[in-house]
Subunit: 373 residues, 2 copies
Amino acid sequence: MSSGLNMSRRIRRSPFTSKVEQHGVRGFSVVNHMLLPKAFKRSVEEDYWHLREHVQIWDVATQRQVEIKGPDAAKLVQWMTPRDLTRTQIGQCLYVPLVDGQGGMINDPVLLKLAEDHFWFSIADSDVLLWATGLAEGKGFNVDICEPDVAPLAIQGPKAEDLLANLFGDDIRAIGFFKFAWVDFAGTQQLIARSGYSRQGGFEIYLRGGSATGLADQLWDAVWAAGQAFNIAPGCPNLIERIEGGLLSYGNEFTLADNPLECGLADYCHLDGDFEFIGKQALLNVRQNGIRRDMRGVLYGTEPLPTVTIPLPVMAGKQKVGQITSGIWSPRLNRNVGLSMIERDHWASGTKVSVGLQTGHKVPGEISLLPFS
Amino acid sequence: MSSGLNMSRRIRRSPFTSKVEQHGVRGFSVVNHMLLPKAFKRSVEEDYWHLREHVQIWDVATQRQVEIKGPDAAKLVQWMTPRDLTRTQIGQCLYVPLVDGQGGMINDPVLLKLAEDHFWFSIADSDVLLWATGLAEGKGFNVDICEPDVAPLAIQGPKAEDLLANLFGDDIRAIGFFKFAWVDFAGTQQLIARSGYSRQGGFEIYLRGGSATGLADQLWDAVWAAGQAFNIAPGCPNLIERIEGGLLSYGNEFTLADNPLECGLADYCHLDGDFEFIGKQALLNVRQNGIRRDMRGVLYGTEPLPTVTIPLPVMAGKQKVGQITSGIWSPRLNRNVGLSMIERDHWASGTKVSVGLQTGHKVPGEISLLPFS
């Protein structure tokens, strides 16, 4: 299902929007008040196969950076997440749940540690800038918080490393998973991380200074030119690949109403660590009372069903035990694949369920661990 | 300019979305992670004339409510805005700028005072929920903050009062401008305010409990049925009418980078009041250093130009003195009308300027006070 999107200054263009328009972008979503390309000329399925085999260039500038800098920066950042940051190194990226005082999910950004007193949160769709600024204002922390002029560009797919080694030199091959380094580009220093919103490998270049100069066009063109030898295509986070890979989306799979222990993020919560964070008592209570649900995959139907835009109930008999919040046909598994938080008594892999469709019909399904194999 | 909008759970449907779909909505914007209808079958111009003469029903559920309740609620709310709230009465609506510690605009909501310890911010497009919660968490305020299940429905136009008097009784005629009262609907108590995002008069019904029950459909149908005698039409905030009326839009006319003294909101800032608020020192500094710009209208071109989606520079000779952030052809004034912050030396009504178009051409224009007459 798609509809027209009315444009205005409030729905911000990214430094790469002109480039994706030149490539014939057909549809957008809006994330962090900014355009996220969601469809090009080819189908999601064609893009899926291409992403698994070749390399794609994605405008993911909607992953806005919230910069926290200053004497109290490390203290504030640790206070914002249940993940233990005490041993985090400069040059590391960490996936961190952010929770409020009730343990509800505020966001699930990637944290980049640039210096002992300098961090970026690379955020999903909520105003972490306001959350962090409010906390600092209330506590009187000595920090500077802003959204800097940084626009991530993702190069994803198995050929990404070869492409970027051609462009920036072989040193980038040494960058570990969820680590970052700096490269020279057009007289500027730019951050490059081995990360991205796919399971096919790749990098993200966090372009600084791209909004006012021609630097964004230059970077896009340079990647595009180097990519010709690797069958590069314009793309975007691919819904089939994302769901198969078990990559969650804030606002889709979970919201402020959910806590990280029950939405698949328990591994990133260190409740017994010797550090304070917002929502600690709430999460301790959740753990003590017992986890009632967890994130799972659902395989359902044997024919292609419409892509999920409104959650579909997951039923065990007449009992609702979950809801598929993202779901699409997988041409590789020949099943529809969905993501759902599932009640404890039904979350075992292989449990039989049914899925209620928009039409009112039901189709049989079964629970799967994530990622889908 | 419009493009496809890809739907997902993250882009929330409102309790009225099904109804606007039945009415043939053609385009949306996204505000507060929720769908805002932006176009129906008729043109913006046809809707404009209709709005000035008859009555329209608008799904403005994207005006999410941020509820602040509890012993410290009044203290927190006053701390969040430079507007003096010391004499605010229960039953009053107030337009309030919210600013950060640097005096930057966080949002420009309407504040509703429901009780001495109970407030709603009816917000524009930013996560005030996170801002308020962060402040309260940092300060240790004793408040409960949430986004309640409240979905505003606007009834706008000169016939709105007669329509709603037919539906709810003549008592609603006594509701003053920016005041609210309570009406019975289908066994529930609902808040109705004389307010709305147009200059044509009208009301907003803040429907409680509409997300899970059939209440939203019932309310829409009741208004629609009562509206048949008044030539009711489905609509949405009308860009021509909004710009002519000088109604500003957060994210369009101003952002976090702007302060309220320079973006037309000085009347809502009481810097000399005997109360504390975030950003007070910053705004005092702005005032002391002198206001450099203010919000103005720009009349430009004598032929219809494309609706502004990317800001257009306002030039005095070769000097940029502003940018039109919202602009459209006015069929009533036979000029294009735009909104722009304008530098002090050029903000006098009647000042001649030129406006740079996307094509590279320039057209002559002149500064106007707001609202356009």
